[in-house]
């Protein structure tokens, strides 16, 4: 019997008992739907998180002064003044694959505009910083190299600061004061929203690095070249781990640290954060796979049960088919196709239902459902295999029937 004939025969048999076939599929439908929906919702949520992490930049290495090892007992960040603008220049010069290094200083202070004031975080930066951290300027102009060289009294405001000091009006050209220094607002930063940790990234003001050092009292007392941190932006496809190791060696050498001494700086690779997130979503995937396996198992047992009933009911039919010239293989294939068809149709219905549920859930949760084509194919493929596997025992029973006894069966 040809494969097409086998499929036709199997479909005919399933059509003969539509309600039973539908109920048998139900186990498969629910199992697959649950998996597809969970995968889609999970992928949507994960995509959301990954996008947040990507907004930080995954090809960035942050270097800060102070020791992570000494952590809580150190005497306060910045006192050691270990990291300098010269370190930044050395990294650009000596580490291959570096796209840019942006040194910065950071200070919490109050800015004043007219009779409004606001406590925020100030960054003293170079133009590279904007690029490395993917900041855009939506109104006015960014900080230029010239601003940095001159120590220009200019400032970029984050969206939150604009809202609180200027009530949403256009601040470009206005003046704000930092301590006693008046600064001209040259531009507004594009909004970034909250970071993955829930902090408002728009509550910042940026001034040229030199301006911050000169005009914030006490900042550059010990070493006029010092910076708080460096953002190292690597080129596309760079090996982040190797780059980190090279930067560490370079800085230890420049800081003349003895072998075995602690680093006097810390380093963080944002792809590490992404990897942690990835690991937790992998754990979720394992959970999903377990749920899928259990539901497919339950669906498969349901199919096996019905196929056993069906073989018993159709014993005379099997006997007749054998008498008319069916080989044992033909009978085996017929029942295998029946059970595989049950589970694959069930899986397809489950995929449709699962997508519907995912879209509904995601709509309520406020993020897009991501239908993963691999998950859909896998669900259909695996359930076909489950159908064949659980159909095997009933089909073998059918194929091993003795034609005479089968024909005589009541």
């Amino acid at each position: 019997m040809s494969p097409a004939e086998s499929v036709r025969t199997a479909l005919e048999a399933l059509r003969a008992n539509p309600l039973r076939s539908a109920l048998t599929m139900l186990g498969m439908v629910i199992g697959v739907a649950a998996v597809i929906a969970m995968v889609a919702v999970g992928a949507g949520a994960r995509d959301q998180v990954l996008r947040q992490i990507a907004s930080l930049g995954t090809n960035l290495i942050m270097v800060g002064q102070g020791s992570v090892q000494r952590g809580a007992v150190r005497l306060g960040a910045g006192t050691a003044a270990s990291l300098t603008e010269d370190d930044a220049a050395a990294i650009v010069r000596e580490i291959p694959g570096v796209a840019a290094v942006a040194p910065s200083v950071r200070w919490g202070l109050q800015v004043v505009a007219g009779n409004q004031n606001w406590n925020t975080t100030l960054f003293g930066i170079t133009p590279d910083y904007l690029e490395a951290r993917d900041w855009t300027v939506t109104a006015g102009r960014p900080i230029s190299d010239d601003d940095v060289v001159r120590g220009g009294k200019v400032v970029l405001l984050g969206e939150t600061v604009v809202r609180t000091l200027f009530g949403g009006g256009d601040p470009v050209g206005e003046t704000v004061r930092m301590f006693t220094t008046p600064l001209t607002v040259i531009g507004v930063l594009g909004g970034k929203g909250q970071n993955a940790g829930g902090q408002d990234q728009d509550d910042v003001v940026f001034v040229p690095l030199s301006t911050a050092k000169r005009n914030i009292p006490g900042m550059a007392k010990t070493n006029p070249r010092f910076v708080h941190s460096l953002v190292v932006k690597m080129g596309d496809g760079a090996d982040m781990a190797a780059a980190q190791a090279q930067i560490r060696d370079l800085l230890r050498q420049r800081h003349r640290l003895a072998e075995g001494a602690d680093d006097d700086f810390w380093m963080r690779d944002l792809s590490e954060i992404a990897a942690t997130r990835d690991a937790s979503s992998r754990a979720l995937s394992f959970l999903l796979a377990a749920v899928a396996a259990v539901s497919l198992l339950v669906g498969g047992i349901g199919i096996m049960n019905i196929m056993l009933v069906s073989v018993t009911e159709r014993t005379r039919e099997i006997g007749l088919r054998l008498a008319l010239g069916a080989r044992r293989r033909d009978i085996l294939v017929q029942f295998l196709i029946e059970s595989a068809t049950l589970s694959v149709i069930g899986a397809c219905a489950g995929v449709a239902l699962g997508i519907g549920v995912a879209v509904a859930v995601a709509g309520m949760a406020g993020w897009p459902a991501l239908i993963v084509p691999e998950a859909v194919l896998l669900a259909v493929g695996v359930s076909g295999a489950v159908g064949v596997f659980f159909g095997l025992y009933p089909a073998r029973r059918a194929a091993r029937l003795d034609p005479i006894e089968a024909l005589r069966h009541e």
Binding site: M1, S2, E5, T9, E12, A13, A16, R316, E317, G319, L320, R321, L322, A323, L324, G325, A326, R327, R328, R329, D330, P403, I404, L407
Partner: protein
């Protein structure tokens, strides 16, 4: 090449090659044995049967209940394998063949008619008739054409789309006969084909079988009724798994009545 039958249909005479296949008889059986183990006992359903059936013969098999008639038919039909003796069908040793070749022999050379019809209830008459061709690997278009012709030949050309439940017993048995003939077998085996039919329908079915036999088809049928056996040219009488009589129907009827 077509000979008319009594119902106005036509049976393709060339479909049943009575005079082909060389000189060897269609069926040659030597010392055939089949023993069943029932608990500790051994029941010899066939205890050494030897018989030869010529091509084109019409044979009736009679005998008391339990005498081994059905067992004999099952072996002839390659549904069962003997555990002793020889069976050659159409010059081929089928007594020792493997299950797959026996399936092929059943499909190509043998047609079965059963007392209880054995039609698949969810299929139409035509789809039932198509079944042996499905397993014979015949393309769909040809199957439809041949099934329609076979139903026409048994006088049911207009009922091809009926399901078995929508047909009378006699009509169902005609569908079964069409199914048995559609692969143009050499041998038609019928175990009590009229056992479930009334006497008028029995007569119609037997006339159909007689016409088929006249067209060249070899028929072996089991019956308990002398009127049915009367259509045959030769009656084999079984007793306790052995052949107790082999004679034309008139003599057999006489022999069956003791005294």
């Amino acid at each position: 090449m077509l000979r008319p039958n009594r119902r106005g249909g036509a049976v393709a005479a060339s479909a049943f090659p009575s005079d082909l296949g060389g000189g060897e008889p269609l069926i040659v059986v030597r010392d055939l044995r089949r023993t069943y183990a029932v608990g500790p006992d051994r029941v010899a359903a066939l205890a050494g049967v030897s018989v030869t059936v010529e091509r084109g013969a019409f044979i009736a098999v009679m005998g008391p209940s339990g005498s081994g008639k059905s067992t004999f038919m099952n072996v002839l039909g390659c549904l069962d394998r003997p555990d002793g003796g020889e069976y050659r069908l159409d010059g081929e040793d089928v007594g020792h063949a493997d299950p797959d070749s026996l399936a092929a022999v059943r499909n190509r050379k043998i047609g079965f008619v059963f007392q209880s019809f054995h039609l698949l209830p969810r299929l139409t008459a035509r789809a039932n008739v198509e079944l042996p061709m499905v397993y014979g690997g015949i393309p769909r278009a040809e199957r439809v054409r041949r099934a329609a012709a076979a139903l026409e030949a048994v006088g049911l050309g207009d009922r091809w789309h009926h399901r078995p439940a929508q047909l009378s017993g006699g009509q169902q048995q005609r569908v079964a006969i069409a199914r048995a003939l559609v692969n143009r077998p050499l041998l038609l085996l019928a175990d009590e084909p009229t056992g479930a039919l009334d006497s008028r329908t029995t007569r119609e079915i037997m006339e159909l079988l007689r016409d088929l036999n006249r067209g060249g088809l070899t028929i072996v049928l089991v019956t308990h009724e002398a009127e049915v056996a009367a259509y045959a040219g030769r009656v084999l009488t079984f007793r306790d798994g052995r052949l107790a009589g082999d004679a034309p129907p008139a003599d057999a009827a006489g022999a069956a009545v003791p005294g």
